[in-house]
Symmetry: C2
């Protein structure tokens, strides 16, 4: 089975590491000349709109998937006329636009913050009047890792936020004073079977994921599963889907979906029976899904911008290091480490030591 992946970053890389043992071979399409997945497959270097390249790429693979949600829908639709592409283009279309995404949540009865489309300063003022403050103004498209967002706390912030990110389609969302951020990752096979991983609790820093802890037996698991199952069915989804949620009291409020393997699921490589990467590949290749059961407790720490000293991290027992073979650069995800333990308190001790060793407390 030859798998084509749009994008050749660390997610594509971890997909390939999971897929080779299953007998898969990989091709990556990515405009970047240096791609960290390229060591694990063939790299088709060029633009997502280059149809001659897309033809060659399609001819070289049996199935196509993608590692990021901002791949042009036109590219996916072009490829889908030549090879099966999973997740489906409709999921991509929804995930690429916060308005579509939030509208889908609302249609399915999934709790979401109040929201309103904003295309002018006038509309922004009207939206603030309706939703109230604080609120968050976001670009509808191409936002990630906190980019393209502005928090409005008082009426004076409106003009500044408009001038900072206005001029493109926006969405204003009510601010959720959440107790914690969680995400659920689930996988749906071609035959419709769904399996959900335990929730992860996520801590962000400067808008970028810093730390995820697996939450085995969490009281919110059932609610999160009911949400993501609605989404998977509605989108006729195949592959791994991530849903980010805010917890407010006993209620989960949907923030966004990612139609792909997700950073908050990296702990599943060591912390679950079958990793999100392997299960995504099993799904898109039409193979039976693997168990999503947790192996003890796990936590994942992201390395942003710089890598910690390898020796010091490897000297700790039960720490699993993942370098992405990317150049260090501020704000860039260059690696992660996962700690695992049988008991939750032992995990916490290990995690605190890892935070000390890496200087990331």
């Amino acid at each position: 089975m030859r798998v084509g992946v749009l994008g050749a970053g660390q997610l594509a890389r971890m997909l390939a590491l999971a897929g080779h043992p299953l007998g898969m071979r990989f091709a990556f399409l990515d405009p970047a000349s240096e791609s960290c997945a390229a060591a694990l497959g063939e790299h088709y270097c060029g633009d997502y709109g280059d149809t001659a390249l897309l033809d060659r790429f399609a001819a070289a693979v049996d199935v196509v998937t993608y590692e990021f949600e901002n791949v042009p829908v036109a590219c996916v639709e072009y490829l889908a006329r030549r090879r099966p592409v999973w997740p489906p283009a409709g999921a991509l279309h929804t995930a690429q636009d916060r308005l579509h995404e939030k509208t889908l949540f609302r249609e399915l009865g999934i709790a979401t913050p109040p929201f309103q489309a904003v295309n002018s300063l006038e509309e922004l003022k009207q939206a603030v009047a309706g939703i109230g403050l604080p609120a968050v103004l976001k670009t509808r498209r191409l936002g990630y890792d906190g980019k393209g967002q502005a928090v409005l706390r008082q009426p004076e912030d409106i003009d500044a936020a408009w001038h900072r990110i206005g001029g493109v389609p926006l969405i204003l969302e009510g601010f959720v004073a959440f107790q914690r951020e969680v995400s659920i990752i689930a996988v749906r096979g071609r035959d419709g079977e769904i399996r959900c991983y335990p929730l992860a609790e996520n801590i962000h820093r400067n808008g970028i994921l810093h730390l995820s802890r697996s939450c085995v037996g969490d009281s919110m698991q059932e609610q999160a599963e009911s949400y993501i199952k609605l989404l998977l069915e509605q989108l006729d989804y195949v592959g791994v889907l991530a849903l980010e949620l805010f917890q407010d009291g006993a209620r989960l409020i949907a923030n966004e979906i990612a139609p792909r393997v997700h950073n908050s699921g990296h702990w599943t490589i060591e912390g679950a029976e079958t990793s999100q990467f392997e299960n995504h590949l099993r799904a898109v290749c039409g193979l039976p899904l693997g168990s999503t059961a947790a192996l003890g407790h796990a936590a994942m720490l992201n390395f942003i911008g710089t890598l910690p000293p390898r020796e010091a991290v490897l000297a700790m027992d039960d720490v699993h290091l993942h370098y992405y073979d990317k150049e260090e650069r501020p704000g860039r995800k260059v690696g992660h480490a996962t700690v695992r333990a049988t008991a939750a308190d032992a995990l916490e001790t290990r995690l605190q030591r890892l935070l000390d060793v890496t200087g990331l407390r």
Copy 2:
């Protein structure tokens, strides 16, 4: 860190899969034009005696290791003048000759069957007179998977055995009526630190490993560890070493060593905190060793000659599939699967189901 591996078979492939997450890159030197590790690094295709190729290979890597013990010692010595090579050439020299190997066991006080070098039919007859029957006649060099061996049960077998494998240096060994075959795998770092994995119990079929079970808390663990530590120290070893043993009553009798990662340690990928592949790389690259603790109980089943139906195996929970991307051919190791469970009896149930599903009972 760029790691050069002599050989590009499944062991090299699994080394690369373990090493990429640690930020390593791989180059493989192998005369075979189709090599199953080549998808995971650069393939230097050519003879082990081609010094121009060896020069280019050495220039492309920071450290060299090997995946099989029959790599020519001259090649390793040539490379060792250019780059660090681990395990050391002395270990290779010992492991390539059963007489050297058994002599080392004897020198270190490690129990081994009675043995004697045999270079003629006359010497064979003398050796049989001294050692008694049954006995096993083996070529001293280049034997693997039961090849180059003849069992002598009665005096009439002597001539036939001599005619079948004679003409090269041989060794006659006393036959061990063992209760079981076990192996111990250990790793030694550049700083001399040693870590041992739990014993594996091995079942062979037609001279080829069929099944390995991890034996956590085995009563023979201490004896096996004492043997392998003597060997690691004596050889000033760096990397993973495997020692195959026969158990006769409460005594372990050394059969042979393999100066490399070993088939009976494949269960460590999912069944131990750090796999034998990662620990071998950590050792040869001078990094701290990882924990060799077991994660529950594990068993590994080899696929020889043909692969089982992928869907049926993947449909079982807690089965981990490893295809080597090799063409199916009689007697060839083309893949394996590992089952894991928290409790020993649950493991046995899963293993029996795997044997049924694969038709390998």
